[in-house]
Each structure stands twice: as structure tokens, then as C-alpha cells.
Symmetry: C2
């Protein structure tokens, strides 16, 4: 299978990956450039997870105010360099995250931030419901894992389905951009106000 | 002194006050419309303070993001009716408050929100400084009152000098709009993010 310089260049422009990486991915994909993108993204995503420990102190603060000014969100997303922080695609990512919080009303960024008591209380309620339904104890434990995961996916921003494409989680958006930019990207915090609410 | 219907109309347009109030204010001001505005504002401000107990659950959530996206502020300001909440001048007030917080970095809305321990600690530091300067104890107490007031005017939004006119406090902006609109207006809360900071 012959890979042309032109194919490699197009793939580089699209993904920002190195020349040799692109050549290898195209060969692996049998010349199919869409497949090659997937291969690079998977490799990049794997790298992005390793990058998790590098410090991310640059980034962007942004807000989204829902039309009518009754709901508003302030968000901070960090990356590693000012260069990526000023990148247009990064700005779009941050804005999407702010809109997501406005629309879907997450309460925490990630499950580690949910207070243990709150999780315990949810688990208790679910367990009582299942017991009422007459489910046997050994099955309840299994169902509970799923119920608690569902709870996390409602209150934790990163685990929520993305409002514009529910086949993705919000964390996928972040990981994809991290892979593309080659930087550790961290949603650090958000605040959501709803007029007159707590 | 003759007050014309035209003068009354102009004053009403300017202040939104009632016809009889405007006529009385103009008479009291000897026909000077600027003075009449002052008289109405003082009367209105007095009313606004009485209104303080009426419920303010309408209003506006807005944000101000400083150019460069390194500092951002989310703010909620309440009024009594949706009508005032959708008023253009109210929108301007809310935006000014968000800009003030971005620029001058208040930590609390009002002094009642400052934790007692924090005030006690500030007072202690000031007292130690004054004692070091050899000030006698009976004078230290008097100076302390001023020092603590100064501290409040730095950390409390409503007591800060307005960034665009330091002869005014931020609370004056709020009171002026309350007087003009005839509604109780309350800065309810704000959040300020600075990139990478706590």
C-alpha cells in the first residue's frame, strides 16, 4: 500500500500529529484517512491520560448566560500553555462546557467531588426502592452499582451526556481536545446561578 | 414661583416620579430642575430603604469576562418585578457591578457576610501595629474603628468606591436605581474566578 506525501500532509493538517505518526496511522488504516484519524485520536487519548499529572495552570475563564438572564454559568478550564489557552478551538470547548452546565445543571465537576454522605444517602434510597420491589439481596447489590453510576452521570459534569450529542460524554470532549492539542486539559471549576434559587 | 407643565413633564421623564411629587420638588427647588432631581432622589432613597423588607426574587444573572479570559465574574442582582428585571437600565447596573467585581476584586457583598474570625484577626493586626507605633490605648480604640471600616470598604462590594467614580460607593449605584425604579434592589451574590488562583 502506497501512502502519498499529500495524504500525510492532509492528515497532519487535520490532527496536528507528527509526520511519522501520520504515515504509520495511514498504513495501519490501509490508506483510509478517516480510520487514520481514529487511530491517531486513540493514540492521542492514551497519551492524554498519561499527561494527567502534568501541571495545567493556564487556560480560560468564560461564562455563558442563557437568553433572558435567569441562568448563568462561570467556568474555568485549565491547560498547560498560554498558546493552547489562546487557541480558538479551546475557546469553543470552554464555551460548550459552560452551555452544558447552563442547560443540564451539573452540581460537581467529577465524582470525587460528590460528598460521601450524599452518595451514601442516594444508595440507601435506591436500596430501599429495590427491596420494596421484592428484589433479592444478592441482585440488589448488582443493580445498585448501575443506579449509583446513573446518579453520578446526572450530577457530575464530566459524566453527563453531551447536550449536543448524547453518544458522547462531556469528558469525551475534553479528552478529544487534550489528544488534539497534546496538553493536559482539566475542567477546574464552575458556578451556576439560577435566578432566585439556592 | 410659577412651575410650568413642561417642567413637570421633563422631570417626570427623567425620574419616573409621580406628577405631584415632581411639582412639589420643583417648587422646593425654586424651579431648578437639577436640584429637583436631587430632592426626588433623596426622597426616593429614603423610600428605598423602607422597601428593604419587601421580597426581591426577580432580577438578572449576568457575567463579565475581562478581555484575555483570565478573570471572570458571575453576578445575581434581584429586584421585585420582571418588569424592572427586563429594564435596560437595570441591565446596565448589573453589568457595572460585574465589572466592578472583576476590576476591584471584592470578596463579600456586604459586611454582614465577613466571617467574625476574619474581622477579629484584622483588628488584632491593626491593634498590634498601632501599639508598635507607641499610640496610647485610648487612642488605639478610636483609630481601630476607622481601620476596620477601611478593611470593610476593601473587601465588601457595596462599600467599595465605584471604579468609574470614586466619589460614589457601589451601594450608591444600587440605591439610586432603587429610588428611580421604586423597587427594592438587592445584590444577592457574585463569584469571581481568576485563572489558576483559589
Amino acid at each position: 500500500m502506497q501512502i502519498t506525501a499529500d495524504q500525510v500532509k492532509q492528515l497532519r493538517d487535520k490532527t496536528g500529529a507528527g509526520m511519522m505518526e501520520c504515515k504509520k496511522a495511514l498504513a495501519e488504516a490501509g490508506g483510509d484517512s478517516d480510520k487514520a484519524v481514529d487511530i491517531l485520536r486513540k493514540a492521542g487519548a492514551a497519551k492524554a491520560e498519561k499527561r494527567g499529572e502534568r501541571s495545567a495552570s493556564e487556560g480560560r475563564v468564560d461564562a455563558y448566560i442563557h437568553p433572558g438572564n435567569r441562568v448563568g454559568v462561570l467556568v474555568e478550564v485549565n491547560c498547560e500553555t498560554d498558546f493552547v489557552g489562546r487557541n480558538e478551538e479551546f475557546a469553543v470547548l470552554v464555551r460548550e462546557i459552560a452551555m452544558q452546565v447552563a442547560a443540564a445543571g451539573a452540581e460537581y465537576v467529577r465524582r470525587e467531588e460528590v460528598p460521601a454522605e450524599r452518595v451514601a444517602k442516594e444508595r440507601e434510597i435506591f436500596a430501599a426502592q429495590l427491596a420494596n420491589e421484592g428484589k433479592p439481596a444478592n441482585i440488589i447489590d448488582k443493580i445498585l452499582v448501575g443506579k449509583v453510576d446513573k446518579f453520578y452521570s446526572e450530577v457530575c459534569l464530566l459524566e453527563q451526556p453531551y447536550i449536543k450529542d448524547d453518544k458522547k460524554k462531556v469528558s469525551d470532549l475534553v479528552t478529544e481536545f487534550a489528544a488534539k492539542s497534546g496538553e493536559n486539559v482539566v475542567v477546574r471549576r464552575f458556578t451556576r446561578y439560577r435566578l432566585g434559587a439556592e
